[in-house]
């Protein structure tokens, strides 16, 4: 009867194939008014004056709101450094300035979207431009202009790791590899642009219907900015059209609540609605951080890494968002899943006038894995050791100390995951160790200007929140019936951003209570009805909701046996505690669980045009336990294609703080013609001891090693290492020609 481990068809698919499902932009309420935001459009300036008189007098305009209307004009998931609306008269110092082009300056509420748009053009803003800081290396300098003048410098965070003695480690090394890696900005490009509604509900709560990733965090952010008691704010998530981390920070949430309450104060009780255009979405929400890694690693002739020294510079953009947390991951992961006795890392998050960086699938992991995996592949090549064999000699295992001085929680399976991907690709393990498949096994290209190559890269990533960040998840379960259970109602806030969370919540509830799946009813993603589940991020939702569902089911069943009707229980799951970096050594217990992944890719490069095609990707992913295999494979295939866009195509261009790629016609994401010809998912199930049913969490893992595995395969094909991407034809061709010329 168990619903676990079955490819149960998604519970939300019927509405999605018929068009009945409502995304925030599809909802219309009687008598609704429309919002339009005036964005700054300039990257760094002080606003001297805002004249809203003409806009307010314009036809159909109900209200024009500016900084003066915001109670506490600063918000942010980590630091409240971002004004809700920038301008004079703010409750916060320095909220009168704009720091990137997507800063919001005013909001018009009008009878229609057209009238609201027209009125925003009548708002006069006097700006005094400030010098621009778009290079994080410049912005780090002591004498640099301050982007946030209440701070001492533009360095938002500096993480340090000091383990062993790197100088001694380099002196033991026979080979030292040094390189500077640059990873690009990436746009989430979820298909559904930001949208939502704000209104006062029947119980007087400021209610926002929006697509986010964490209902209760949205609720708290609104309550803080508008200085309201938290119970006066209600968040409801209708269907969510993709997220990938891009909906973790606020976009339209606070503005919708602000507009609803300001209208209410003026005696106008009308719902307000907003839909961002694609352009507004691209400019208005954070991006995957660009990083620079300056890596120096040494190894002995027998393939043992002796030392790693890395400087990490993260372009945080204008506001903190989740930069410090992303930096934490990159600090830990920039030396890879390897046991290295001597490590020194200095990692910096830096404010600039670029678009803010924030959460995006992998959360610093993909950037760090790029540097780490390129380093180990280069070392293996320099030493003449097979790259799988090189990994086997260095991978973390149970009890190995990571760079931050503590072991990974058991069971560590990365060696088995690497082996599974390698075997699937034709690697063999002999008495001398691992050896790669013969070159002929890649097949011959159709033309002589085409070359093929194969490579491997692996990665690890935390499940759940890290570095001492509070982590918990609450579920309520209600059992109804007489002598037998007839109905099971689960109350869960976890966001289904498309990954299928609601389907696995139903599956896990059915199994935990011991009833058929059809008996489970769900009350979902509404702060008025569900407790805090935490974010749909960090590959945590199945792990965290599963554990809280099991706890709630066990308690509810106990009440049921005690003849309570209905029998209801609420359970909060809290995993083992994590700790932040020690400020001088980095010593910490960063995470409570991990997922492990390894990929082998085959590429074909056109030596005349620089075009790189992904022929095949094998992805081995230890998911602990596949609750729903169909959805697991969907995450692997989707993650790989999104990462293929990152590695090969997606070229986000910012110049002088302006974005040159504001549309999907200029910012190109993969179509079906750009995907690997073949993706092979190798789903491994080595149980995580504290995971529900053994679950680890997996949605980010397939993304992590893809860019470095493409670079490894491209090196195999051409003999050239690429330390920067995206590997668009122009970049590849230029490098091929440079190398040919030298």
């Amino acid at each position: 009867m168990t619903a676990i481990g079955k490819s149960v068809p998604r519970v939300d698919a019927h509405g999605k194939v018929t068009g009945e499902t409502l995304y925030p932009g599809d909802i219309n309420l009687p008598n609704q008014a429309y919002l339009k935001i005036l964005f700054a459009g300039r990257p760094h300036a002080i606003i001297k004056r805002i004249d809203t008189e003409n806009a307010a007098a314009s036809r159909g305009v109900l209200a024009v709101l500016t900084a003066k209307d915001v109670a506490i004009n600063g918000y942010g998931l980590i630091y409240p450094d971002q004004p809700v609306l920038c301008g004079p008269g703010s409750s916060r110092r320095f909220a009168d300035r704009v720091r990137f082009i997507g800063d919001q300056v005013a909001v018009v509420i009008a009878e229609s979207e057209e009238l609201a748009t027209r009125a925003t053009k009548l708002i006069k803003v006097d700006y005094e431009d400030l010098p621009l800081l778009t290079d994080p290396i410049e912005a780090m300098k002591n004498d640099s202009l301050l982007i946030h003048p209440d701070r001492e410098d533009n360095i938002l965070r500096h993480n340090k790791i000091r383990k062993g003695d790197v100088e001694a480690g380099f002196s033991q090394a026979d080979v030292i590899i040094e390189a500077e890696y640059k990873t690009p900005v990436q746009e989430h490009a979820y298909l559904q642009p930001e949208a939502g509604l704000g209104y006062i509900d029947e119980e007087g709560r400021i209610t926002v219907q929006v697509a986010g990733q964490w209902t209760h965090e949205d609720q708290e952010a609104i309550a803080l900015a508008l200085n309201l008691p938290i119970h006066r704010v209600r968040i409801i998530y209708p269907a969510i059209g993709g997220a990938f981390g891009g909906r973790e920070d606020m976009s339209v949430q606070i503005i919708l609540a602000l507009a609803a309450i300001k209208l209410h104060e003026r005696g106008i009780d009308r719902p307000v609605k907003i839909i961002w255009s694609r352009e507004e979405s691209i400019v208005g929400h954070h991006k995957r951080h660009a990083f620079i890694f300056r890596s120096k690693w040494g190894a002995t002739n027998d393939g043992k890494i002796t030392a790693a020294e890395v400087e990490v510079i993260q372009d945080g953009g204008a506001y903190a968002c989740t930069s410090t947390k992303v930096l934490g991951n990159a600090t830990l992961m920039c030396v890879g899943p390897y046991e290295i006795a001597n490590v020194s890392v200095d990692a910096y998050s830096v404010y600039t006038n670029n678009l803010p960086g924030g959460a995006f699938r992998g959360f610093g992991g993909p950037q760090a894995a790029f540097a780490a995996e390129c380093q180990i592949n280069k070392l293996a090549h320099a030493l003449g050791i097979d790259p799988v064999e090189m990994r086997m000699r260095n991978l973390l295992r149970d009890g190995s100390l990571t760079a931050v001085g503590t072991p990974l929680p058991e069971v560590v399976t990365i060696d088995r995951v690497v082996a599974a991907s390698a075997e699937m690709a034709g690697w063999e393990k002999g008495p001398e160790g691992w050896s790669s498949p013969p070159a002929e096994s890649l097949g011959s290209p159709a033309e002589k200007y085409l070359k093929r190559g194969i490579g491997i890269a692996c990665g690890f990533k935390n499940i759940g929140f890290s570095f001492g960040h509070p982590e918990k998840c609450t579920t309520s379960i209600e059992l109804l019936g007489g002598s037998e259970i007839e109905r099971v109602i689960v109350y869960q806030a976890g966001a289904d951003v498309g990954q299928g969370a609601h389907t696995v919540i139903a599956q896990m509830t059915a199994d935990a209570v011991g009833v058929p799946l059809e008996m489970v009813e769900m009350v979902l993603s509404d702060t008025a009805k569900t407790e805090d589940s935490g974010s749909a991020s960090a590959s945590r939702l199945t792990y965290m909701t599963g554990n809280s569902i099991r706890g709630a089911a066990a308690e509810a069943l106990m009440h049921w046996r005690a003849e309570d009707r209905p029998a209801k229980a609420t359970f909060t799951y809290t995993p083992s505690a994590t700790t932040d970096f020690d400020s001088s050594t980095g010593y910490s217990t960063p995470n409570f669980a991990y997922g492990y992944v390894s990929e082998v890719a085959t590429v074909e490069v056109d030596m005349e045009t620089g075009h790189v095609r992904l022929l095949k990707v094998i992805c081995a992913d230890d998911v602990g336990k596949a609750i729903n295999m169909q959805q697991i494979v969907g995450q692997i295939e989707g993650g790989i294609v999104q990462a293929a866009g990152y590695a090969l195509m997606e070229n986000f261009i910012q110049e002088n703080g302006q974005v040159a790629t504001q549309h999907l016609s200029t910012y190109l994401i993969p179509t079906v013609l750009d995907i690997p010809e073949e993706v092979e998912s190798v789903v491994l199930e080595f149980a995580e001891p504290n995971g529900p049913w053994g679950v680890r969490g997996m949605a980010e893992m397939p993304y992590i090693p893809l860019a470095p595995v493409v670079v490894a395969a491209l090196h195999d094909a051409t003999g050239i290492w690429f330390d920067e991407f995206p590997l668009i034809p122009e970049r590849v061709l230029l490098k091929l020609q440079e190398e040919k010329g030298t």
Binding site: D26, L191, Q192, G241, Q499, H663, V672, I675
Partner: protein
């Protein structure tokens, strides 16, 4: 400023109606706002993503690149008009559900409407043909493989083949 309204007479999902529309009103906005057919989604507003695809006299068109006035006298089918009745899914819809051909679902309607005329013209398509047919629709979640598989499954189940009763 007073706008001229143009009368249009249309058939949407088999139902005839008349409307007065502004000359620059997009078909996508007309369907979503005037007709309250919100299953047609707008993802990019300029013809790149394909989420807004509908059928105009049986041909797939991008409703964000079409004006409402252009459909005067024509037939439109949206995703809401696919099933023969509310309880029964069109076999193409069922194939997308069965093959997990969607995740967030925002692109799904546009993909279904692209594939309907494709399978009618190519009832036994090769994988290459399917990929070509899907190449004008963006999906950010699935990696496309399950979408291709869903189309294959639909073809195997006879979607696009002439109805023997006709």
């Amino acid at each position: 400023m007073k706008k001229t309204l143009h009368p249009i007479k249309i058939t949407v999902n088999g139902i005839e109606s008349t409307h007065a529309v502004e000359p620059r009103l997009l078909l996508s906005d007309f369907l979503r706002q005037d007709m309250e057919l919100t299953g047609t989604h707008v993802g990019c507003e300029h013809g790149v993503c394909g989420a807004c695809t509908v059928l105009l006299d049986g041909e797939a068109v991008r409703s964000c690149l079409t004006f409402a006035v252009q459909i005067d006298g024509h037939q439109i089918t949206t995703v809401e008009g696919l099933g023969s009745n509310p309880d029964e899914l069109h076999p193409l819809q069922q194939a997308f559900w069965d093959a997990h051909g969607l995740q967030c679902g925002f692109c799904t309607a546009g993909i279904l409407m692209t594939i309907i005329p494709f399978l009618e013209a190519n009832p036994h398509p090769s994988e290459e043909k399917i990929r070509e047919a899907l190449s004008g629709n963006l999906c950010r979640c699935t990696g496309y493989q399950n979408i291709v598989d869903a189309v294959k499954l639909a073809a195997e189940r006879g979607v696009g083949q002439p109805n023997p009763d006709d």
